[in-house]
Symmetry: C2
Subunit: 584 residues, 2 copies
């Protein structure tokens, strides 16, 4: 294993030049302007002091630039992972307390260790168990949950909880205490951000700016909202009037510090850390793959795991909280022309400069503006239409997506995702426990065999050809016994049963026992079992048992071959050459 | 749904006659003689007063005779279920206490409700998730665990625990306090039972008895041990010398009583009740099916569920504990000539008479004799050789069996079975997450396509034929994307990729997304995707999405058809007739 396998920066770094640096620098400037309000807002969403969002946007970006394989992924605090952080920590400590902050850093440490461990143990495949419908339902529900959870900041009231069932009653009860100045600031920000999202770019273009410049400037819309809000609060002394603001932020770079190493707490946080890692990895890899494919680049799951793992480790050691690759920021980074992860390095420098120079200016930034930033950002994640599309395609997948969505909204993020994954697996197992089986016949004029109910095919009265459309394994082993008994009972003329195994990718020990039982039962009924089209790996495994020696039938290379041998009068004599199994 | 579907006794009862009654009566006599010591012993194993074993062998047998579908299954207390009962209750209450007894009856009630509910909801397929290797490992481990757990009664010491790790140290520490009279009784019983098991029948035959009579008499071996032990204890007043005996047993039939309806306790016991129900059902159905097949009879899973469910319900209302169909007793019942479930009714009458007349005589029955009965019975369940056979056939199945075995021995019965089921599922999912994929070519002179690495086949340079040996679903969706990218990257000449779907039994929503991604990526590389041999149900589902309209390729009825169209110069022109999909 070469060093460059684990350090992709050695590959792109060797061909780095000034032209790329210019492009990366431009992209970094735009991403920095976007990242400042977002990182403050997502830290608030996670229940942490806003400045921790900035801290989590410095070292983690450098770590990913060293170890990650995507050229354009923008790492940092993201909405869904921040929500999961809050959901994991809220039941344990009061939000924002010393213990809460320590636990957030510990969560980043655990997540970093898990992701790095998965990289070295090549366990990235675990992320595949988050099926697309589950992830889609999870993201939509998170978006709704986050948006509604942020309403308290718009109303200037307090409300907390991990599900809509907890948040909505509190919002309702708090409404009489609504703070109208806060609401006004929030609604104005919301209106501006909403308008700027879609209309600012065309408006700037109408003012004569080029599409490129207008697009880049439009990305700074949230920054303008922040600046205007800070000026307004300072000028009108709205913080004295009860508008909640960010307040004093320690100036300067975060010190390197070990997170609290509380083993008991670590064990308690481990399940949440695992979910955060997997969800973060899936979100990050999806956007990374999409962007890489556009430029015919590849990303390596192992490198992504290590990149995100080290990013989280460095977040843990520099006062941050769990981070991952964000969707919106990565797309902006790509569109703005980022060529290499050096754009991430430049972004980190930009954020570091902000922490050193700008934090005093952020004192009067109202929470309501940050909440508006979050709401506009997350509502774009909500895609309820996909629920209908999934449902139409597959009831099972639709049910899993709906269950995840409702689970997240009504119980909480962790319960929701676990329900979704569990239901996906159960429904799959339930489906494979009653596999589709088809009696097949020969398509006239060909050697091809298809379902007698779907195609006009030729059947032999004495040879029953049955195709099983599923691997034979424990959930369906007994079902197979029952179905074959039924099929044979209704066809007294049958003397040979050929099990066409083109759809059988595995015969496990339970199914092997069932096959033995079937052979015995068929023999007492005067019927001989044969197999056909057994795949190589299945054949290799059957050879390791004594089944093939004593089951009494033959294994035919193809269904056509079986019929040619067992019922020569029925089949067309198309081929004459004998076929045999050959081990590679 | 006809009444006779739920009451199989209406079917066999109509043709019941004197000859069958004689055969059933004879079988019932032998089973009763076998059941008296076993029911006392298994109640002791479950931590309950021995008489509860007799109670659990009256009404449950009548209930099964009414609702069960097996003609020869002998229901009652069995070793494995008694062990699971003890494992579920021991952590909650002191063995034998009032609360413990009430909880045992509640466990029977829950188990009865679960089994009956599964019958009406047709959830019998749930039992299939206990794969053969898991059940085999579980039964062997239970046998070892029970046998070692009974050593305390042989030694006359006390020891308790749910795993070997708990039992063995206690046995070791208790050894100095060993009671030698008890040990002597135990060892003599063990030696007699062991000898009688295999040698009593031939010995009786040598004395001139017919094989039939000798076999039946030999079944009464344990009864002889009991009688001799009771006589010896009474004569030598060994109970005064410290030999633990059964003691005073209330005479007469159990009163009908409601078990304690403690909702909180019921919820606590529910997982154990579910496991007991499933394991009991699997054990019972296996023996029932084996015996039914010998006489070409069928058993219906729904009726079995209802039969066992009502048996457990009636156990709950008559002072019993969880019961199921036992392996050894059912075989004896069958061998002794039982024709219908009426044999069970006669057995119940026999046990009822024993409860009314014999209980005073059982006062001086030593625990050590019952323990010896249990040990000899359960050691026949232990089959460690199957572990090797399973391992040779499949590493995954072997690992699941070994994990179950070790889990039961070292942690406990419930943990063991859950570990086994969980590992079976995980290993299956892990295996399907990296499916076997084969590049295939045409077998010369046929229309059949096989793996290029295993067969001498013809390939086309411009058309790549790939067979995927697995359903396409969320665990392998991303893997498919990666593998196809690799395959195409190494073959620059390829213009068409035909995915041969004979092994694809399902394409779920995640895999559909992946196919869309693959189509896009292939198109940028100048390659068109096609499908072939798509099965009917999969085709139906694909039609419910827009994939088929916009993916740009064709769906060929067979791989041969695909090659004939895309690379006509390569294939043999064997068939000429056009084939089309037809919906049933």
């Amino acid at each position: 294993m070469k060093l460059s396998h684990w350090l992709p920066c050695l590959t792109w770094g060797r061909r780095y030049n000034r032209s790329k640096a210019t492009q990366d620098g431009m992209a970094a400037l735009i991403v920095t302007l976007m990242l400042i309000p977002q990182s403050l807002a997502y830290a608030m969403l996670a229940g942490l002091p806003p400045v921790m969002g900035l801290y989590a946007s410095i070292l983690p970006l450098l770590a990913y630039a060293l170890f990650g394989s995507s050229r354009t992924l923008a790492v940092g605090p993201v909405a869904v992972v921040s929500l999961m952080t809050a959901a994991a920590l809220a039941p344990l400590f009061p939000a924002g307390s010393e213990a809460y902050i320590g636990a957030a850093m510990l969560l980043a440490l655990l997540s970093g260790l898990l992701l790095s461990g998965m990289a070295f143990l090549r366990l990235g495949f675990l992320a595949n168990f988050l099926s697309h419908p589950v992830v889609s339902g999870f993201i939509s529900a998170s978006g709704i949950l986050i948006a509604i959870g942020q309403l308290k900041h718009l109303f200037g009231i307090s409300a907390s909880g991990v599900s809509l069932l907890q948040i909505i009653p509190q919002l309702w009860q708090g409404l009489p205490a609504m703070h109208w100045q806060t609401l006004l600031i929030g609604l104005l920000s919301l209106a501006w951000l909403w308008w700027a999202r879609a209309r600012l770019k065309p408006a700037l273009q109408r003012l004569g700016l080029s599409a490129q410049t207008a697009g880049n400037l439009a990305k700074a819309g949230p920054v303008l909202a922040i600046v205007v809000a800070i000026v307004a609060v300072s000028w009108l002394q709205l913080d004295q009037a009860g508008v909640k603001v960010v307040g004093a932020i320690p100036q300067g770079l975060p010190g390197l510090a070990l997170p609290t190493l509380d083993l008991e707490l670590a064990l308690q946080l481990l399940p949440a850390a695992l979910l955060i890692s997997l969800v973060g990895f899936v979100e990050s890899v999806s956007v990374g793959q999409t962007l890489a494919a556009k430029r015919r680049q590849r990303i390596e799951p192992d490198n992504e795991l290590l990149g995100l793992g080290t990013a989280n480790l460095s977040a843990a050691f520099s006062g941050g909280f769990p981070v991952t690759g964000g969707f919106a920021r990565s797309v902006v980074n790509y569109d703005a022309g980022a060529q290499t992860p050096m754009a991430g390095v430049f972004t980190a420098i930009g954020i570091a400069l902000s922490v050193m120079l700008l934090t005093p200016l952020l004192h009067n930034l109202p929470h309501a503006v940050l909440a508006a930033t979050i709401i506009v950002a997350v509502l774009s994640l909500v895609d309820l239409g996909s629920l209908g599309r999934t449902w139409r395609y597959s009831r099972q997948d639709g049910a899993a997506q709906l269950a995840t969505l409702l689970g997240v909204l009504l119980i909480g993020v962790e319960a929701g995702i676990l329900i979704g994954v569990g239901l996906s697996l159960l429904l799959f197992l339930w489906r494979t426990s009653q596999p589709h089986m088809a009696v097949v016949g020969q398509v006239p004029g060909s050697e091809h065999f298809r379902n007698v109910e779907r195609f006009a095919v030729i059947e032999s009265p004495s040879v029953l050809s049955v195709r099983v459309d599923e691997s034979l394994y424990f959930p369906n082993a007994r079902y197979l016994e029952d179905r074959i008994s039924e099929l044979i009972a209704s066809r007294p003329q049958v003397r040979h049963l050929v099990l066409m195994c083109s759809g059988v990718n595995l015969i496990d020990a339970s199914a092997l026992d069932s096959l033995e039982t079937i052979v015995e039962r068929l023999q007492t009924a005067g019927v001989q079992l044969h197999l056909s089209e057994v795949k190589g790996p299945v054949m290799d495994q059957l050879r390791r048992s004594s089944f093939l020696e004593h089951f009494g039938g033959q294994v035919f290379i193809s269904q056509f071959d079986a019929l040619k041998t067992l019922a020569p009068q029925v089949t067309h004599p198309l081929s004459t050459q004998p076929l045999t199994h050959r081990t590679p």
